[in-house]
């Protein structure tokens, strides 16, 4: 039985999608001619090249069927069961941004470390608390007092 490599198909699709998006966007700007290029010329060229390569990759992914199921071999090891670090890291940085605006350096730092430490299952709440406290103290000393960074320790709104 032959399988189509879903990963290759997806990446080719992404290239085409991205390329077409860039083409459509560059058409908003003046294209000009080869001798007098407008701001849209170079991005249009890049978008077209990416779409072209994506199309080749797309045809390649459809016609080269692999004799074994690569979707299992490559797909699973890359995706399987690793949603936790993903969500936790993204959430942590997001919290840093929000608390950076509405809280200040101390709450933002503490929250970032406290949240992201949980990406690894072996880290306990206790170790997260200790690490977050240590890093927050270090951050205040190094970045606020020593380097005079423009980031208030606390702020409201």
């Amino acid at each position: 039985m032959m399988f189509i490599n879903k990963r290759e198909l997806l990446s080719a699709g992404l290239m085409v999608f991205f390329g077409v998006g860039v083409i459509l966007n560059s058409l908003q700007y003046n294209i000009g001619s080869l001798a007098r290029m407008g701001p849209g010329f170079f991005p249009l060229l890049l978008g077209a090249a990416l779409t072209f390569i994506g199309a080749i990759a797309f045809v390649g992914a459809l016609t080269i069927a692999t004799p074994f199921n690569q979707n299992d071999a490559t797909g699973k090891s890359l995706w399987g069961g690793i949603y936790r670090p993903w969500l936790v890291v993204i959430a942590g940085i997001f919290v840093f941004m929000v608390l950076g605006i509405y809280g200040g350096l101390i709450p933002a730092t503490f929250a970032l470390i406290f949240v992201t430490t949980h990406a690894d299952r072996r880290n306990t709440t206790k170790s997260a608390f200790i690490l977050a406290t240590c890093v927050t103290i270090a951050a205040v000393v190094v970045f606020y007092f020593a380097m005079q960074m423009q980031f208030p320790l606390f702020r409201w709104g």
């Binding site: 700007y29 080269i64 670090p85 840093f96 960074m149």
Partner: protein, 498 residues
């Protein structure tokens, strides 16, 4: 030449610059031995700190961080079987077995020694060929630059990555990211999607940290700890000592390494990684006892290490004299130069001779320092190696966030980092490469500028790229490379494997 070297020493050996160099080397070395932090992550994390310094000091510090991490990477490769950079994957092959056999001290010393010899050669090459290349580069017009950049990008994206097609696509994606921001010719904001923060373009620091820093954490966090300690015996300064005859045994390998390293360094797109793999293959091929390789052959450490280091230094030659970086690290260096308002290109040699020669001398001093520093510090590094990654990555994330914030005191850039981190991770999963994306991003604006100028000068005749001899050669090489890629794809198809 003597005058220039004197100028270099005077520039490098000021209290200020020496301090930056020492800080860079030390911090780099520290980052290099911490698991999960490579040269690119370290440099992009510390790039904001150098914004306040004057350009020479800033570049010395960044270069120090670079070879500091490289040095640290060799240590982790030997002791933990964890290559910090791709170039060190080869050192693992024989360095780690040596450590398993209780010869860690030997392996570490030979790696350091070979690397130092490699750097010294690279420095000499840079002093000899840098000025010559700059002379040649003065003759280049926009046509030549565009052709050379195109060649460099193509080489960088297809030679090292797994799939050439995706490598080229990665470069294109990087070039597209480079388009975001104000168009210099018309003053129009392109691809800003109405977001005022994007009108100055995507922040280099945010892009680099997202592509390498955040993506590294996403790849490594939550996984089981890789690698394990192999040496039960305590490693201290006194144990970093080669066994009898091992220096003698590795000398020929070092000699061959420094002969081929600079060649790879100066070519665009072929950094230390390819060079060290080639060196390993060569050593194995000419060895009378090839069966020892992979089981702790000292030549397998000495050859690649010296090749890699000499290539790493000579890679600065095209970066500084032509403004064309060979790999992502050099691209970051170039980005740092541009942030300091220094236009990369041959005029650097004329306008900022103290920068070029000071940097050259600082390479040598910095590596000497590393050699001296590592002998007493190796015990501390070994202790650091045992800090589990699950405690390191939250701190890395914090340093990324605060570092990117510090550039503009703006939390929007933190969001940009997050975006590129997620993007880079997804892209890596799909087989794209982050390094060509960064290369494309940095070269993009320069490429567009040269492309436009070349065609304005030729009144829109594309044939100018073939007619001018140097760019004609570049175009020919590009065509040959494309043909080879196409050929490989077709042959691969017949074999039924992509």
């Amino acid at each position: 030449m003597i005058d220039n070297l004197y100028l270099g020493f005077v520039t490098a050996v000021t209290l200020q610059n020496l301090t930056y160099l020492i800080v860079g080397v030390f911090v780099g070395n520290l980052m290099g031995v911490l698991p999960g932090i490579g040269a690119l992550t370290a440099i992009s994390m510390l790039l904001p700190i150098t914004y306040g310094l004057e350009p020479t000091g800033a570049l010395m510090m960044l270069a120090g961080i670079y070879y500091g991490t490289t040095f640290g990477g060799a240590t982790t490769s030997i002791l933990l079987n964890l290559p910090g950079t791709a170039a060190h994957a080869v050192v693992c092959l024989d360095g780690n077995p040596m450590a398993r056999q209780g010869r860690a001290g030997s392996a570490l010393f030979i790696a350091m020694f070979a690397s130092f010899i490699g750097v010294s050669t690279g420095v000499v090459m840079m002093g000899l060929f840098g000025p010559i290349l700059a002379e040649v580069a003065f003759l280049f017009g926009p046509t030549e630059y565009f052709a050379l950049m195109l060649l460099g990008l193509l080489a960088a994206s297809t030679l090292t990555s797994g799939s050439p097609l995706k490598g080229v696509a990665s470069v294109l994606i990087g070039l597209i990211f480079g388009v975001v921001g104000t168009d210099v010719n018309s003053g129009i904001f392109r691809f800003d999607f109405g977001i005022p923060e994007l009108q100055d373009g995507i922040s280099l620091v945010a892009l680099a940290m997202g592509l390498f820093g955040i993506a590294d954490v996403l790849i490594n966090a939550g996984r089981s700890e890789k690698g394990s300690f192999v040496t039960k015996s305590k490693i201290s300064g006194s144990s970093v000592r080669p066994a009898k005859g091992e220096i003698k045994q590795s000398m020929p390998a070092i000699g061959r390494g420094i002969a081929m390293g600079p060649f790879f360094g100066i070519l665009p797109g072929t950094g230390g990684t390819l060079a060290s793999f080639m060196s390993y293959a060569l050593e194995k091929k000419i060895s009378k006892t090839p069966e020892r390789f992979g089981k702790g052959a000292i030549e397998g450490v000495a050859g690649p290490e010296s090749t890699n280091s000499s290539a790493a230094i000579t890679a600065f030659i095209p970066t500084l004299t032509l403004g064309i970086p060979g790999d992502a690290v050099m691209a970051l260096m170039l980005g740092a130069l541009m942030i300091h308002n220094i236009q990369p290109g041959p005029q650097i040699m004329v306008e900022y001779p103290s920068l070029f020669w000071g940097l050259l001398v600082s390479f040598w001093l910095g590596n000497l320092l590393l050699l001296v520093l590592n002998i007493p510090l190796i015990g501390i590094w070994v202790k650091l190696l045992s800090v589990p990654y699950r405690f390191i990555y939250p701190v890395v994330l914090f340093l990324i966030c605060i570092g990117v914030y510090s550039v503009n005191n703006n939390l929007f850039d933190v969001g940009v980092v997050l975006f590129f981190g997620v993007f880079s991770y997804l892209a890596t999963v799909l087989g794209f490469e982050p390094a060509p994306i960064l290369l494309g991003f940095i070269l993009g604006p320069m490429m567009e500028e040269n492309f436009r100028r070349a065609l304005i000068l030729s009144r829109g005749e594309l044939s100018v790229f073939i007619e001018r001899p140097f760019s004609g050669v570049c175009v020919a090489v590009i065509l040959i490379m494309l043909t080879m890629i196409a050929y490989k794809q077709i042959v691969g198809r017949h074999r039924g494997a992509p």
